[in-house]
Subunit: 377 residues, 4 copies
């Protein structure tokens, strides 16, 4: 693992997600660019001292020199955005598979470059767009892909948060500090941090691609250096249209990412606050409540479920599904087998490119006086 030292948020999430199914063992880390801090984290995590490194370069180089059977196979990179590209590049080129936190890189140009590097390296990359790991999100995608709702007409996705309603970066809130800092986050704040999740969820569930967008991007809290709010009108493939909302100033909101998709015959709705439920509405018959862990859900939902119906699965399980599917896909590859479609269903390079393109296009549209901006990827 690269990054994820004490005080970080997402590093701990990655570790729990990796541990849940016993498919990964954390054996080495460069948890901080501060070597002492990295070591301290290593001690807490019970790692062998010689596997805790003071920099990502050191980690990659030294692990590479270990015998194949004794070195790490996959490197998880959980640093802020500006520190994604270089470690990922070096890891891929050094023969390691990579699990990378989203958004993929600092810029679209970097993302495209990383894609080329990854392809050339023959290594695999998994991007942690968590929400597509939920069983009922997968059920939604599978239902739509099967044509159950007919042609898709409308999509609505929203990610409302309230935690940046005040000037949190003025206090010692480490998360607020880097996420509102252009030097570490990139050109987007809310749109990069949560807008990309909403965008990815939307394209994943609907099976459509955004083709044009019209964005209203705002900095609501005085003094903030990056957008903390936005709303985007969308034109999608096959004539669909929609709305994407991402805001960090919806005071009192937690993380209730929600997606609704409507087709000719019906619509469906999923929200993280009720993550084990998929509501499917029909034009002329009662709406139905599809639930995680039941016998009637599709193969993708079933594959990504660990407990019987009614025993809720949450965010960590969704996150762990990314890790698990990536492991299953790698295991199949190592064994010379074809992985099941359910195992190959994890966010990867293509999602990363789309996400970075979303950031650049949505910010460009926010600055434009023209209504529609073409989505260029």
């Amino acid at each position: 693992m690269i990054g994820g030292g004490q005080g970080a948020f997402i590093g701990g999430i990655h570790r729990m997600a990796a541990a849940l199914d016993g498919l990964y063992e954390l054996t080495a880390g460069a948890f901080s660019s501060d070597a002492a801090k990295s070591r301290a984290t290593g001690v807490l995590l019970g790692l062998a001292p010689d596997r805790v490194y003071g920099s990502y370069q050191e980690l990659i180089e030294q692990e590479q020199q270990r015998p194949t059977a004794e070195r790490v196979q996959v490197i998880a990179i959980v640093t802020p955005n500006h520190l994604h590209f270089e470690p990922a590049k070096l890891a891929l080129q050094s023969g390691f598979h990579v699990i990378l936190d989203k958004p993929m890189t600092f810029s679209l140009a970097e993302a495209k470059q990383l894609q080329q590097i990854a392809v050339a390296s023959g290594q695999k990359l998994c991007l942690t767009h968590t929400y597509t790991g939920y069983p009922m999100v997968k059920e939604a995608r599978q239902l739509i892909a099967a044509g159950t709702l007919g042609g898709i007409r409308k999509v609505y996705v929203e990610y409302p948060q309230g935690w940046l309603s005040g000037f949190e970066e003025g206090s010692d809130n480490k998360q607020a500090a880097w996420r509102t800092d252009p030097a570490r986050s990139g050109i987007a704040g809310a749109m990069g941090d949560i807008g990309t999740h909403a965008f990815n969820l939307l394209e994943y569930v609907s099976g459509l691609q955004v083709e044009k967008l019209c964005a209203d991007i705002n900095v609501v809290v005085p003094g903030r250096r990056l957008d903390d709010d936005g709303a985007v009108l969308l034109r999608l493939s096959h004539g669909a249209s929609g709305v994407l909302v991402a805001t960090q100033v919806a005071a009192g909101e937690e993380n209730n990412v929600r997606v609704r998709v409507y087709g000719e015959k019906g619509g469906l709705e999923w929200q993280q606050a009720d993550a084990n439920t998929l509501l499917v509405r029909w034009l002329d018959r009662p709406a139905e409540i599809r639930r995680t862990g039941t016998g009637y859900v599709g193969s993708f939902a079933q594959h990504n479920t660990r407990t019987p119906a009614g025993h809720p699965e949450g965010y960590l399980e969704a996150f762990a599904n990314l890790y698990r599917n990536f492991a299953l896909a790698l295991q199949a590859e190592m064994a010379g087998q074809t992985a099941a479609p359910e195992a190959l269903d994890y966010p990867s390079l293509a999602d990363g490119i789309r996400g970075m393109a979303f950031i650049e296009n949505v910010i460009a549209s926010g600055h434009s006086d023209t209504k529609w901006t073409d989505f260029v990827a």
Copy 2:
């Protein structure tokens, strides 16, 4: 009552709303431009035959000739949009108060003219924007007006319907026929029918006014002659921004109009599907569930409630609140008294002008390639 013959929808709603509190008695009607049909409706409603008329002109003229104590005092106009202006004009000028279904008229120009006529006549007009009649909508407005949430930053309002997902106007659906007909509805379909409700609800609850908008207006169902779908980015007074969604092709949706408003300190959410609840979220303490009929709600909610907490009040009660407040305001005026603020709180001319301006501005924006269109009223 003018309009509301057999087969109509909203006429029956008006009659029930008027009857609920015993403040109105239905004594005369021109229920249809077909005199026989009007008479038939009159029989069904138990009216005296000499009070059932074959045209609105006849109704107004003949009622005007009756002794003051024996003639109708208020005329409810429940016809399609293109038949609002003329009857309302004649009624006002003939000395009758008017209850008018929304949107106010066929065009903004007509609305402005009607406003002048009403003011000149000294008669009062009540416009039936139903949703502002709900106790918890009033509670929301009162909380925000009192500054409870701090300065308002974000507003989201949506009115999703699914009933026009198919080409209903191709069947014998009378409601679909006139609501999708430019000659009877005006320049807007969904935006006029339900968009104006959403718009009115938004301005009512937030206390803000839309200043600019950017609309994506669509005709989704092939062959349809008016918009059946739209999404609108909004810029509001005091620096707030927001999104309005109105669609009639969200297959499976009923009428779950929903509004969310976020300020510096917290946010609130109301939706018709859970109409007796107002959810108020806070930055740093538990969200609270405010409920109709409880002792702790404000004076406006209390005034508009008929049953104890937990006995739900619905759409008809909300509608009846418009009727009741209008009656109380008229009674106060007749008695030479000042009506309570709670009684004066019914949608009126100003709301009607704003609504018609919304229709014209939103359709103009829909046709524009420029991002922001100034809201001109």
Copy 3:
């Protein structure tokens, strides 16, 4: 109307319920045993002074002397329990139909006597068990009666209130005063006031009858003279069993009466807090959400609905359904026609007898040390 003077609760509810559909006109009343108070109420309601009476005897006698076409046809009795029997008896024997608030009488013996009187009189009686007036309650009954759930195994019904958590009868709470007074309420408090509603709802929805019960009846608030809490184990016909809970000391609860019934193939759930929804669960497929006002619901639900799906109907509409169906049944009878089953579906004498029997049996069981008490009606 007998009872329902100023300060009363249920009288106003009856008047709104009666007015909603225009099928009743309130023309006479003895609103209080205090003649001055009765007159004052009459003035407020706009009645002719000569139709406002100082006692129920006076009302019945004088109305009876009026020409048939000019006298009241139906008398609503909305007094406390100890004043149900005598007015109802006199009204029936004098040739008036009766709408009677629940529970039917002060005692089971009175109820049986009233039943005989009613039958002998040829007049009809409607008992206002409100909750069976909800469209989705009727849908539940119709689904179960059709065998959709298979044989019924389990029933759970609960009526939790919190308004008597304190010693309210010690203040000037008029409702609390008579409802906790054995001289006015009878032998039961909570069990009579809301337990009978729960019992009626249970038998109505399930189509089963309670055969044995085992009750835990409590007086929770010190100083109270009647039970304010109870829970009852039930044995029902056809081998089903269940639980009934009624309490007035569930602090913070409003009036969320709720019923759940489970059969061999599935179960259903209805609660007043979400009154327009019936949740139907299945063993092996997604649960479904049945909604008021949709096209797919059964004839009973449709008949008892006034607004399109998504425009909620509430307590007053449910109450009004009792009034409306009673009127439709009487109209059919007067016209020498057979009323539709949907119109005949209002709570009547048989429900009243069952309800009074419930009160006597449940209180008896509460005092018994034997587990099961036979339900004797």
Copy 4:
């Protein structure tokens, strides 16, 4: 680990719960009494072959002979009920701490014996009553313990399942087979399997103890050998009363265990289907929604939370909280420190004794004709 071979359910849950926080490493197992099957499971889990045993005796004996630093410290026993006592006894007496699935043993007598053995051994035991591991359940307990609701008056707990609505033990459903078999489950079916969970949750949250009970215990499905349904009236300490429902024939229900507690000032409600929410109602102010991961919840909820508010935590995290707290308590003990109250808050011997006493008392009451049975522990 003892038990938990392929095809088992709860073994996998234990393994994930143990793995989540990196505080346990699975190093040895006797996964089945069939040695070949045990080995196969060991291979799947990646264990060293010499740490996979063919019987629990072998595991305990051979692990005991390993050097202290190389042997297992804690043994998780995840076998059916009839195989709890002997392995637990041997493990404790051999110097291992024990994590034991519920109910504690096959009979109350065994449970008491095991308690004595545990105390004598100086080893610790953790019983996996999962539901008390949820953060919001802990918040409920802490609020009530602090007197926030005033004196407790009413408690309602229910655990409805539907999976045994048919004669599942007649098919090859392994779970149904042993859970309905008196030789493996003990004297109770539903009451032992889920009734004990409900009972434990009730006593844990309310801080009260059941003193008397009155049970209706049923075998609903023909041919079944143990109860699959029951409802119990409860008398608790400090004058409270309540109802416990546990059923496995509520067709369509998943595992929505739910608890409600009402005191003099307010009430609270928690249900597994919305596990991250605790609803707290008040007599005279809006109900509040307390949420996992927020800053305002108490120390117990905070201690047992892993993700920020709005990222749901589920069943596995609740289960993992038992494992984590047990580990923290053991670590503190080994370090000669006093563990924090939050770490010591895991279900243990006393809960196990109460649970087994519940089984024996509730079944006795089910057979009794007397209303109240004293709860004897």
